[in-house]
Amino acid sequence: MAVLTMRDALNQALKEEMARDPSVFLLGEEVGAYQGAYKVTQGLLAQFGEWRVRDTPIAEEAIAGVAVGAAFIGLRPVAEMMTFNFSILALDQIVNHAAKYRYMSGGQIRCPMVLRGPSGAAAQVAAQHSQAFESWFVHIPGLVVVMPSTPRDAKGLLKSAIRDDNPVIFMENEVLYNFKGEVPDEEYHIPLGLAEVKRAGKDATIVAWSRSVVTSLAAADLLAKDGIEVEVVDPRTLRPLDEDLIFESVRRTNRCVVVEEGWRYAGFGAEIADRVQRECFDDLDAPVVRVTAADVPMPYAKTLERAYLPQPEKVVDAVHQVVYR
């Protein structure tokens, strides 16, 4: 098995799907000549040509709108948001068009598009460029929301996202682009809507996605030194959510901590906490505890950025809280 960065794994997924299906094409700011702001689309212009790798003006609503229209007539656009911070400019296209038409047309019109790009904090890019917006998108019926945490998941899920007939919000993470992991050499894809246990344990369940999985696995190492074995469950797809795997895990460990990079207030972790308390009520030995970003805009100062984000130590504290030791 090859060891790839998440960036290269994503690049492979795009390349393979474009080669497999001529209706797949890319569009976005700097995806072509500049080979991608984060080099995810490197080499694709050369391989597939201008017709299938389209550089666009800096106009997110237009990018999303073109993708929606193309998808309606049967193409499979993969539109890049340079970061998801700018996707809020495209919300009308995403929420009112991409997410709605299949429903409003009684299934006559489908929108098989992928809107992908990095999300979440990087390093000192401050309040407007560090946001985790998954909670916004999971709120919308009609959207599929995917957030991979490993190169293997990223490739397998992006291939499934491109083949899916629904609009898929595919949120990558800038910090994870350079993370390496094993990626199968052979053709594979990972079905949307399936969670995975990233680390098995018996004392508490941590539910985390994207970069928070890395944070949680680091916390798990720290906790293991104290003899506390946590299980880390990565939903991978936030909508639809593989709640059964989460419930199954919580029923074994009797405790649940949810870690997310977004804000606490009405964050997606609250949705998980809600489902767990209802479905696993008699199995819970402690209230579900959440670790989130601080309820402020991201500060620029490095020290404050660290204080703002979930850190392994905060996850460790949360786990101590639910295991009562």
Binding site: L284, D285, Y324
Partner: protein, 428 residues
């Protein structure tokens, strides 16, 4: 639209009348279904009575301090504009203020939901008796998992000390309870033992109105004494080994058990071997009980009550000890739920703390025997032809001769004595 009669609920199986300790709502207050309407003193404990109908508490017919028979109208809940005059007229003037209860012409009606809606409210409602089992609505804080395990394992949550935040009972507390050792946090203060309760001061010459509990004691024990032919068998038990064991548990485990705990455990062990001692006279037959539920008589300020250690034969000594402590404490606070003082199949009564050497007890119906336990006393004993200081305790079994014969009583006591004189067997 809706008028609901507030009817005094039968809040314990033996309750025939109740005293309204206080109304939690006053006339004119809005009332929702499930609101606590009043606190009622039954013959056993103070219980909360909940509203079964919604509206305004329009009329209180029996004020705080007043008594009323079970099933009688004590108030009316209705919408603000509703005419309730007919209802009030029909009810007539109901006994106000403290005083003798109104004469009850007919036997008390069957357990009734209180209040009974005159027009349908929202579908049928079950009668509010008996209250939900442990943890259903009690003020014991426990994690849902702890509750689930406790329910499954038949562990009384109230007997478990919580080590979580705010005293929350969590899984590990239940597990250590089941394993017989208290959870870490619970180690600190050894809870109050069944200590002596001061008697209420009574002036000579004073006439004392009968509390519900006093009436129940009078009725049930007279019935027992004058119906069941009692006979008494006393044995003298060498408690030397038990005294040593108690010291060892205190030193080794920081756990204080009482001699009474040992007696309860010894009886619980012996009873399955003597089904007729764990039995009830049923008039035309004798019913032996498949389970061993040992009642422990507890003195409380205006009487006594016998909380029950359920399935005592299946519980460890330390479990029994903890449970008795907790039950006794809550008995004194009048916080026992009916299911916690009902259904015993055998009772232990102990006056050892008053340094009583021996006494006889009246059988707690419908049981067929009760054990009266005296103090462990230092007495001169003859051993190996020398006089030494020994520890002796006298216990007297009162038996219902319709069920238990003398030889059986003696054999049962022999078994209890054997176990107390060899107390390690209580851990087997």
């Amino acid at each position: 639209m809706t008028v609901s009669k507030v009817v005094l609920a039968k809040l314990s199986p033996t309750m025939e009348e109740g005293t309204i300790v206080k109304w939690s709502k006053k006339e004119g207050d809005p009332v929702k279904v499930g609101d606590v309407l009043a606190e009622i003193e039954t013959d056993k404990a103070n219980m909360e009575m909940e509203a079964q109908g919604a509206g305004i508490l329009r009329k209180v017919l029996v004020p705080a301090g007043g008594k009323a028979p079970v099933g009688s109208l004590i108030g009316v809940i209705a919408d603000a504009g509703e005419d309730i005059s007919t209802l009030l007229k029909a009810a007539g003037t109901v006994a106000p203020a403290p005083g003798p209860p109104p004469p009850v012409a007919a036997p008390p009606p069957p357990p009734a939901a209180a209040p009974v809606p005159l027009t349908p409210v929202s579908g049928p409602r079950a009668a509010p008796v008996p209250p939900p089992p442990a943890g259903g609505r009690g003020r014991v804080k426990a994690s849902p998992l702890a509750r689930a395990i406790a329910a499954r394992e038949n562990i009384p949550l109230a007997a478990v000390s919580g080590s979580g935040p705010g005293g929350r009972i969590v899984k590990r507390d239940i597990e250590s309870y089941a394993a017989g050792s208290p959870a870490p946090a619970a180690l600190a203060p050894p809870g109050p033992g069944p200590s002596v309760v001061p008697f209420p001061s009574v002036a000579p010459g004073q006439e004392i109105p009968l509390s519900s509990m006093r009436k129940t004691i009078a009725k049930r024990l007279s019935e027992s004494m004058f119906t069941a032919p009692h006979f008494y068998v006393t044995v003298d038990i060498d408690m030397g080994a038990a005294v040593a064991l108690r010291d060892q548990l205190l030193k080794g485990e920081n756990t204080k058990i009482s001699f009474n705990d040992l007696v309860v455990k010894a009886c619980a062990r012996a009873l399955p071997r003597f089904p007729l001692v764990n039995a009830s006279w049923m008039g035309d037959r004798i019913a032996t009980h498949s389970e061993v539920h040992v009642g422990v008589a507890v003195s409380i300020p205006d009487g006594l009550i016998t909380p029950v250690v359920r399935n005592a034969d299946r519980k460890s000594l330390l479990e029994i000890s903890q449970e008795v402590k907790d039950l006794a404490r809550r008995a004194r606070d009048k916080k026992l739920r009916p299911e916690e003082f009902m259904g015993s199949t055998f009772t232990v009564s102990n006056l050892g703390m008053f340094d009583v050497s021996e006494f006889t007890a009246i059988i707690n119906p419908p049981e067929s025997a009760i054990l009266a336990v005296g103090a462990v006393q230092k007495v001169p004993v003859v051993a190996e032809d020398a006089v030494r200081v020994g520890h002796r305790m006298k216990v007297t079994l009162s038996s219902d001769h319709r069920v238990v014969d003398g030889a059986l009583a003696a054999q049962f006591l022999g078994e209890v004595r054997l176990r107390l004189e060899n107390p390690i067997s209580l851990f087997a």
